[in-house]
Amino acid sequence: MHDSPSSSAPARPLKPETLAKAPAIIAQYPQQRSATMPLLHLVQEDRGYITKEDMTWVASLVGVTPMQVLEVVTFYPMYRQSPIGRRHVRVCRTLSCALRGSYALMENLEQSLNCKRGETSPDGDFTLEFVECIADCGCGPVVHVDASMHENVKPEDAGKFAAQLKATLKDPSYGLNPPVPGTPEWNG
């Protein structure tokens, strides 16, 4: 099992309400192992990443070995084993968005957010990543930040967009509300 940065400092325990949600999730499925992925999402939504102890916990709940949960964690790009920045900024890299300038956008965002692609900014505010197609191809380039989709983010607007993202750091409700049609990030 790969060591994560979390191994130096003990991870915060999962919240009691997270633990309490598990039985209902498992009960939705005819076979408990199917609950592996939703339980991992649950853990990650609580703490932001998944530890070895979490995998052992999930394994005990769904009746598999911790290794079988690790296999799942390492297969799916959305699961993380180490903490990320306070905002997770994912720029679509695939062809439709690239044709609309996502590579230039990424270069500009690296400057504006003081953060290289694939890394977290020194102040811990932003993790910046290139991701593959996120199914909003007609509005490219698109940027998926936490749970919110931002459409038509032009490369020349990167500075303005970065400022907007910095402002969201003070908004605890950012990304939590369902998308509102007509707003730039309606598509959630």
Binding site: M78, E132, I134, G138
Partner: protein, 449 residues
Amino acid sequence: MPAVERPLIYANLRKPGYTVDIDCYLRNGGYEALKKAVALKPDEVCKEVEVSGLRGRGGAGFPTGMKWKFLDRKSGKPAYLVVNADESEPGTYKDRQIIYKDPHQMLEGIAITAWAIQAKQAFIYIRGEFIHGAKILERAIAEAKAKGFLGQNILGSGYSCEVVIHRGGGCYVCGEETGLIESLEGKRGYPRIKPPYFPAVLGLYNCPTIVNNAETMAQVKHVLAFGGAEFAKIGIPGDSGTHIWGVSGLVKRPGLYEIEAGKATFGELLYDLCGGPLDGRTIKAIIPGGSSTKILKVGERFKGMLANGTEFDWALEDIPLDSNSIAACGTGLGTGGTIVIDDSVEMIQALSNLNAFYAHETCGQCTPCREGSLWLSRVSKRITTGGGLETDVPLLLDIANQVAGRTICAHGEAVAWPVQSAVPKFKDEYLESIRKRQKGEAVPTLKLI
């Protein structure tokens, strides 16, 4: 006559003020088709769908009614319905609209389908990134259950069906139906080998399973609303209903256009509805139905004979927008996600962009796909960074030829087809790209890799 849209799936969600709640859906005729369906016997519902000629909207275009017929009803095991809402094919963004703006339309189709195939449990496998989409669907399911359209004793019929939302983890290959089933079982999304793992016989938990695309479910609602025979009159024989064309890339008005099958051409879609190329540019090529479909070049002539015996001789702009015509031109309608490339684009960069996608998304199970996708990505990228050799162009084709047809799932074809179709058509341009870099000459500024 200029091309016109005929919104069927998008009719409601485009109305100003239309919302996702069940009251809004009911005000717009919601769940009437389900009432019609439960008044029929399950076999009669299957018959309506078969008569409608509806083809699946997930990319392969398999007739939905025929797929349902393959369901193993003799095993005595429970049947499952799995809805594929793992929309991940580059260029495709049609299902997102249904999920985010008109979720009940899809749920009504699910309830009808579950009744038809007698599934008491349905799963919606939704992209992990559709975080709010999953919440919208969960709320919609709760509303539908409260009104008796889902859950226990649907519309007093005595029939019950539970629907569970299952979020994926950002993995393209889980859009492949058997990879999706593995993922739904809590494992890595490694596709299964057919035979024996045809989902209709050995699907989820090794039980008979129907896997249908999210939009297909919405189409099923309309099949019941119109009646199969009436629905078959929309579109053309062999391809009924509407297709949602999701145009992206370099046109003036990229967007989603819902058009009756076969009632417009690529020229009308690209130049009338999408407003043509950006100012001062010309369209050079299109990828018609999602990134895995074979590329079409402007200026090519497409000649041959359709299945009904009609001979054709078309320019790209003349190709009718139905699955048979597009297939006859050597590519596929796929998901209708059309990516438009213009003369500002260096084709080797476009190919390299897609090669990088497939290399990232291969599950690694089959050697030809795992190794081939990585080598294609490396070789095409080294051309773009100036390390290319003229022998790299035939090398790309050689690698692709060793992947297609040699893998468990169709990801192998998805890896190979962009290369196999683009290399013969753009070979000279690729060689020019190599030569320009060897001589240190300027190359197009739009960076795609």
